[in-house]
Symmetry: D2
């Protein structure tokens, strides 16, 4: 059945798969000490334009969030996130499991408004009892957010300034980074992100890989014994090549960007299609996740021919659903959809 | 200088101190295996009217919260609290340090409204993705709250029903429980609390003891090897007698209630005094903590003669401050205050 | 260069890779909710001969150890292991990171002697102060061990009896389980393991997969909300199919056993070869890891033509090294080696 | 009944109690922000002869161990201890609960032999796979040890050198420090300890206080936001005065040393007594804990008239028991004992 359920319903992009096949019989050292992993690191640093960066590969987004945050914070420090942030809502408390509070602030359409951030920080630093409170030491943002929205370059610069002022790290969860970078409405480049963030990751799982996220310590300030710490988290693969080879394929010849663009092009067509048929959008998303309001009847009739993600019930009669395109969505998929809705 | 800064500015109530003096040279076993501790346990069970309860003594409130919550929750479970709850705001993330999320809901004047609780739970259980979320397994309330307010018996019953419906434990932080029980505006008895909660504690530190909180597992459902677990938390005193003797003194002859009443009587006089002089209250508190709005000028002039607690800035011109009475506040203190404000 | 460095130097077995290729474009739900994963679970239960078992897939051994142990133990409980056990020595304290003590006992050639286990338990339960000690609640063994050795069926039965007597779980780390099962010197079957252990895992990473371990809760006593808990550990893959498809391939038509046998056959040839040339073995291993004593000169001359693992220095003149065969080792590899040593 | 069960069977020393009585009605700020606490800090720094030191008060030994170790170690670091060390054996895994491994080495009579320490470290640093292991970052010793034994100044200097060489902190658990300092067989002064250790604590609970340990960061290298971190551990008392007043009393006029000397004098008399009656000692302890071997018959006959601590069974016929003197033991107690044994 046609499916826009998520951006992880297909295996790997064919060129990623080919790389795995091609290198399968090479004899390589374990734990990421292989030439493909080294090459992938270098390709990513080059793509970022920040040679001082250090790159590490982990298998998934929640793992990346937990490892990055817990290795960068001290015991008494917490991370600030929008309430809808993945770490706040959809990781079964993986951050708290490592001992750290996620300080939740109200967001808007998935984004953390600088106004709310500043207001929180001013209250915290103005409170003479703040020695009894978790100290904010990191700001977590996702880009694209869980609602498909994006920060502008100005907004990222503003967040950077606030982090500098209050001695905090800026961490960008890029589980869907490719789709953000190739959005038609963004002015943010990968270089911008590598320059503005302390740490971020480039999502592979949702952008063409079988699994894998590339964590970039942008300024080279990698936590001490970081590889040992990934092992401690159960996050180190014996066959590290699995991640290295895939990211090598994704960052050779710009494949990552090319296939991200495909998702965006299809998403724009999907948007146009729903728009032209008079559907209402829950919010305006410039990336590969589109949130559309369906009546119960539409849910049923479309749902019988095409899978999509349920998001939330709006009222008795209507729901918000998500249609996600991906590196693998084809023009034919959109055409098929046009005959369904 | 006259001080209403908090309810822990004086040592112990004299009868508590006398008990320590009287028993000081008794040869007693350690770790709470002494007759005074046993006696204190029995006196508390009697006061609660729930012989099936089990009682344990810990040294302070944050310790009690962390030990109780972390021993009652499973790894993937969280505790619901009002945003202003002590565990959410003023314990440096002690709960998260044990690996558990504090699920923060909007409160009103320190209380957790059942409406917000139900709304959260319905959303959680209505969400088909809730396997990715921390499971709510306990409701934390403070009584009196951090703002001196109290739940009515009806409200506690309502919370109990919700907890039963959703399979959650009800935990009441009674760091200032005596002041709540002796409030002139409450319909809640100690027996009600022991009947309605799964676990709660009777605060000693702020009600006549040098230190100590009596944790009551009301239905006798004490976590396995609870004493071992208190040791693991560094919460077991070698000279457990220190806590047993104090609570024995507090619950023999109703001293706990008598001295709590003193704080309430003084608080009512203080309220009347501020009222009669035309001061504005931030909210109506029926217990020993009174939150009053002072102008900057009043802050300065009163502050030069009397200590009080700073709460928060309201606007450029005005602040909220806290005046707390306690077991040790005298009629003379109020009279002195009447000459100051 | 010829390499016997480890059993994870090659990618996947070709039939595993083919399965990934064949299923790559199938549209499948995420998080392991796909038909291949379900099928793999069933194939494994069938291979175990224990339909009541429940199977889950994780990406690596350290992760499997940490997730299994931390979800099965209560806060105050610890896991017993030989000092040389992987969890005790080579996982950067991953178990302690989850809050649990690894109780280390002296082992012999990687195995945990029942004598040492019983002696420890009798001391523990004979100590009237054991409420101050971590309670032993699980026995961890690896099979094959880190030294390639195996437990006999009698030994496993004995461990089971001890666990039953003392109310402990028996957990078998089978990172190299296939090589143990196909050893020429074992009397232990997969069914035995599934019958005798509470939980164990069938290693894929070192036996033909790119990554992946199949955790089997043999008696169906899976920890509550186990999938949520894997998410909390950052151990859930969005594209769970990656693991499901691989294990489906490994357990269809007995591939797992067939390729494990290959490693054993090659290991026996390798043993014979070293034996025939007069090399001394550090211990007698019946599985794919062979520990051989080399002089410094041999280290250098062999090392220039063939990679192997360094284990430990024995004395000034001699070292212990490891030669590991795997699913991918060929007869030609052994022949090449015969011309080197 | 006469009791040598432990050194925490009596309340406080009378002068400590008097200080609590005398200051009870003083109005003081909470959380250790009071003049007595400040004064106690200064008195201790003076006694140490290290003005750069920083002093904090906690309530008990396990708490002090857990707070100190977990705030000084990074996630991937562990603490080395003799197997018999309190943190290794008798704290229900309190250190592991904070996420850190206790690296246990064989000890001798409670002490950690430098030989074993060096051997472990050389193996660790000689192992090219040590990135997979917990990094040793602290050495924990108790002084007196759990067996009453003491390190010589030379041994402490040697430990310091090893710690310096390998970049480790030296932490001395002084739960019974007074009894060590006043031993007739020691050449170690408080100043030596303050000069040689990075951190240590001066035990109050077992030396005259109702509760309390004075943690000394000897070189002033206190962990960041240490007070916040004690709060996070539930280790901060609202009425911090309870600890400050007691330690003020203990370190004014050298009370701590005077009463420690009493315990030593009584212990020497006790030793002589047992010696003169032909009893066998389990080991030679120069401090207040004496370990004596009793036959089953002696156990029973003495046990019916005098309490002592059971240590371990030696063989079918004999046990090791502990007789502990303390600040409160009198000459009369020894005389009574002489009529019993």
């Amino acid at each position: 059945m046609l499916s826009f359920e998520s951006d992880y319903i297909i295996g790997a992009h064919e060129r990623v798969l080919e790389a795995l096949i091609r290198t399968n019989n090479e004899v390589l050292s374990g734990y990421g000490n292989d030439i493909h992993t080294k090459n992938a690191e270098n390709l990513i640093k080059k793509a970022c334009g920040t040679p001082e960066s250090e790159v590490f590969f982990l298998t998934g987004g929640t793992q990346a969030n937990a490892v990055v945050i817990s290795t960068m914070l001290r015991n008494f420090e917490g991370v600030i996130s929008a309430k809808t942030g993945h770490i706040a809502l959809h990781e079964v408390g993986a951050i708290e499991y490592t001992g750290h509070k996620v300080i939740e602030l109200d967001g808007i359409e998935g984004k953390l408004p600088t106004k709310n951030l500043v207001s929180y920080l001013e209250t915290f630093y103005g409170d003479e009892n703040n020695a009894m409170m978790v100290r904010p030491a990191m700001v977590y943002i996702s880009h694209p957010t869980e609602y498909g929205t994006l920060y502008s370059k100005d907004e990222l610069c503003e967040l950077r300034k606030i982090c500098d002022k209050y001695g905090m790290k800026l961490f960008l969860d890029g589980a869907r980074l490719g789709y953000g970078l190739m959005s038609r409405e963004t002015d943010v480049t990968l270089h911008d992100i590598a320059t503005l963030c302390d740490v971020f990751y480039i999502g592979g799982t949702k952008v063409g890989a079988l699994c894998g996220e590339a964590v970039v310590f942008a300024k080279g300030e990698t936590p001490a014994f970081f590889r040992s710490q990934t092992k401690q988290h159960g996050a180190m693969l014996a066959k590290g090549r699995l991640l290295g080879v895939q990211f090598e394929a994704l960052f050779e010849d710009g494949l990552y960007f090319e296939i991200s663009k495909n998702a965006i092009d299809r998403a724009e067509e999907l948007k146009e299609l729903f728009n032209s048929r008079g559907y209402e959008f829950f919010l305006n998303s410039p990336t590969n996740q589109q949130f559309i309001i369906l009546t119960n009847e539409q849910m049923e009739s479309i749902g019988s021919k095409c899978r999509f993600g349920f998001w939330e019930r709006l009222d008795e009669n209507r729901c918000v659903v998500r249609f996600a395109t991906s590196f693998a969505t084809t023009k034919e998929d959109i055409e098929t959809l046009s005959r369904i809705i």
